[in-house]
Symmetry: C2
Subunit: 449 residues, 2 copies
């Protein structure tokens, strides 16, 4: 029915890792279908890798492999550059060279995009009228960047909240499902390859912070770099927190939040959050990602899917390659509104309800002193539960019995500023009888049942 297109767009792939191989595979195996979509034959002409001697999957023909990424970018027969190296130092100059040569770049490199150099590269691409596309950099296969850049282009977005790190969502899901402690589920995730041997980038929230920075740009048109993002990870979350969340109708999620607070003023942050089980984000389980978008006219939207993995990520990269090819042939680019300067609102003034957990000595007077500390900073208590030694021993066996003479206090506050809550927690650490300020987690407001 459809005649083969006469034109060819030549693709240079930089990187030979877990995403590059399925990208090359999809571009070659699905060539006929993709040619119809792109309006041109998409031909992979080179795959630049760090180690040419290394064994490659069959999807990557040896004849295409080269060790010279700079030459691939400079090659005048390469029309589109796909950067899958990752990181800033090596990938940055290559992306810059491609854009300066007027070549569209498709990348999945969140570190680069969330760096100060990322902002400069976006600006360069815009001024040169060249595509810099990065659907795969946030939430993998989920068509989020295009939705925000194009579908919701007429929409005034109020807030974007994402579960954008699959590893931490897997860990939190397993803690919620199985009553197992953090260390046990982390070990299991490492065994399954769902967490790195050094899980810091995931569990400390750094990966999510880079994605939050990119989301701020895509949703609001602000250049934010990862080091400007307030970041709390999940390492403080323990089984008592998960259990409290469950019995109060919540689930704990690590959220990347980008929120418009006023003209040119946004809050960009990553932190664990108690989310109502009726909220659509609560149903996002295991290693899945989702991004919840609130628009003034569109209302609530959520996009859900696989946030990582070679093939899903490759799917997003190939979608961008098709776009880049189409735009190249028609002499246009994807919409890239000019970026504006931004004021990042400090966290101190943000208001939220909080869940607070304290370990205290089980003796008279402690609760009163604790309540006084809350009151001193104007943080009003909405509810309190005390778990006594007996109950801890019943629930937690040996661990509970070790805690003889201790009690656990679980508070939910009314809405208060982060500044006041942080000051309260600081004071609580010095209240006689308070053994440990174990945790303080924000509670997401949610109007519906």
């Amino acid at each position: 029915m459809t005649s083969a297109p006469s034109r060819t767009v030549r693709i240079g792939v930089l990187g030979g890792g877990t995403v590059a191989a399925p990208v090359v595979g999809l571009l070659r195996e699905r060539a006929a279908d993709l040619a119809v979509q792109a309006g041109a034959r998409l031909e992979v002409v080179a795959v630049a890798v760090a180690d040419v001697a290394k064994q490659r999957p069959d999807a990557v023909p040896g004849a295409l492999v080269t060790g010279d990424a700079t030459a691939v970018v400079a090659d005048p027969t390469v029309d589109v550059v796909v950067e899958l190296i990752g990181g800033v130092d090596v990938a940055g100059p290559l992306v810059r060279a491609a854009l300066e040569a007027g070549k569209p770049v498709v990348t999945a490199n969140k570190a680069l995009l969330a760096s100060p150099e990322g902002a400069r590269l976006r600006s360069l691409a815009r001024s040169r009228g060249v595509d810099l596309l990065y659907e795969a950099a946030v939430a993998g296969a989920i068509p989020l960047v295009r939705a925000l850049r194009q579908s919701l282009t007429g929409e005034r977005i109020v807030r974007v909240m994402g579960i954008v790190n699959g590893t931490t969502n897997y860990l939190l899901t397993k803690m919620d499902e199985g009553d197992e402690p953090y260390e046990a589920v982390l070990a299991e995730a490492q065994r399954l390859g769902l967490a790195e041997r050094d899980p810091t980038a995931d569990v400390a929230g750094y990966d999510a912070a880079a994605k939050a920075a990119i989301l701020a740009g895509v949703a609001f048109g602000y250049d934010v770099s990862v080091d400007q993002v307030h970041c709390e990870g999940i390492t403080s979350i323990e089984q008592p927190d998960v259990a409290f969340a469950r019995r109060s109708g919540h689930v704990i999620k690590l959220l990347a939040v980008v929120e418009r607070l006023g003209v040119g003023s946004v809050s960009v942050r990553v932190h664990p959050t108690l989310v109502s089980r009726h909220h659509p984000l609560a149903g996002v389980r295991d290693a899945f990602n989702a991004v919840f978008v609130e628009g003034e006219a569109a209302g609530e939207l959520m996009l859900y899917g696989q946030g990582a993995g070679g093939l899903p990520t490759a799917s997003a990269v190939v979608g961008d390659v098709i776009d880049a090819a189409r735009n190249l042939l028609s002499g246009t680019t994807a919409p890239t509104p000019e970026r504006s300067p931004v004021h990042l609102e400090p966290l101190e003034g943000l208001r939220s309800r909080y869940y607070v957990r304290l370990d205290v000595e089980d003796r008279p007077g402690v609760l009163g002193a604790v309540a006084t500390a809350f009151g001193h900073h104007g943080v009003s208590i909405s509810s309190m539960e005390q778990e006594t030694p007996e109950r801890l021993a019943d629930e937690e066996g040996a661990a509970g019995r070790d805690a003889a003479g201790m009690a656990r206090l679980l508070f939910v506050t009314h809405e208060a500023t982060t500044g006041d809550v942080v000051a309260t927690l600081d004071d609580l650490g010095g209240v006689p009888g308070v053994v440990r300020v174990a945790n303080a987690v924000r509670i997401l407001p949610w109007g519906r049942g």
Copy 2:
């Protein structure tokens, strides 16, 4: 920071209803922002309505209102036509005239798009190189059409399953939450304006069927019209079905399903379905819509949001208007792969597990005869529950006591073809002691948890 664009794109709006007013309102109130996005000032120059005398919201200035839609389409100063009249007879010729005049058309008209004329209009738009955009026609504010048309353009889509009718999803949610019978929740929905006085188009599945037809085109590139869609509504769903779903870990949803079965062969259908509570579609409550997409490379994706309502739908329309304006200025169109001929697979051969509910006389021998009927057609029973008169009376009070001498049989079958299940149900109607074949509902396979 951003200079005002010098060009103007003139918009003619057809229709003065619940979507037209917020469309005009957004285009006028947000003119400055939208001009940046579109690269041109978007000016509404006319709003054609059926009754010019009728009072309009303030968003629609009286000076723009006209009764002559044909003149708006023909007006050489109108660059883009936004069709929000709905239906086929009036809207169809207007959309045709606009496309023939080379004017991009943005429409939310699912009836037109799912009609045979819709296929001809898409073909006309493609051959003329003019945009025909309809993001708002399926799932309201959810950026689904663009995701399928653009983001997933490189993706081989296997299946699309949507909750695309807010009214029925609201009814099923309330039945699940509140133990109330269908009639009561329908009456309440009508009181709240969430169901029409004559709810047939929604509850019989016709609205969802039109959207399924459009999805078949967007996801697979096949022209399917609404009368080719197999359609079962929710009117047979009663409280015992909802209760069984709940205690078996499911929730009943009305799904529009578009599934690739082979080259050029798809199944397009609408029917109630038992969905595992762990499936992301199960968490889509109230009047919300969601579409679950399975791609070969991308894996599972879901897009969730408001499927109806003036403002959310208007948001999608305005997104399309911006696209149309951008494309018009750059001389391109949105990607519209050529449509292919399709073989619609008859339902008979499709395999599924089924839930079946029978009302029978509570006497020996009936169960045996029923089981024999299943066996006769090779439909294997996976589980059976019998609810006796005592239990019915306990559970259902007066209604249960009226059923003295009756029992309820609830079966779950192993996977069987629709043809065999339908033949079994036909036979069961004639089995002595079977009072009523009350329901038979497909069960969605779901591998996880």
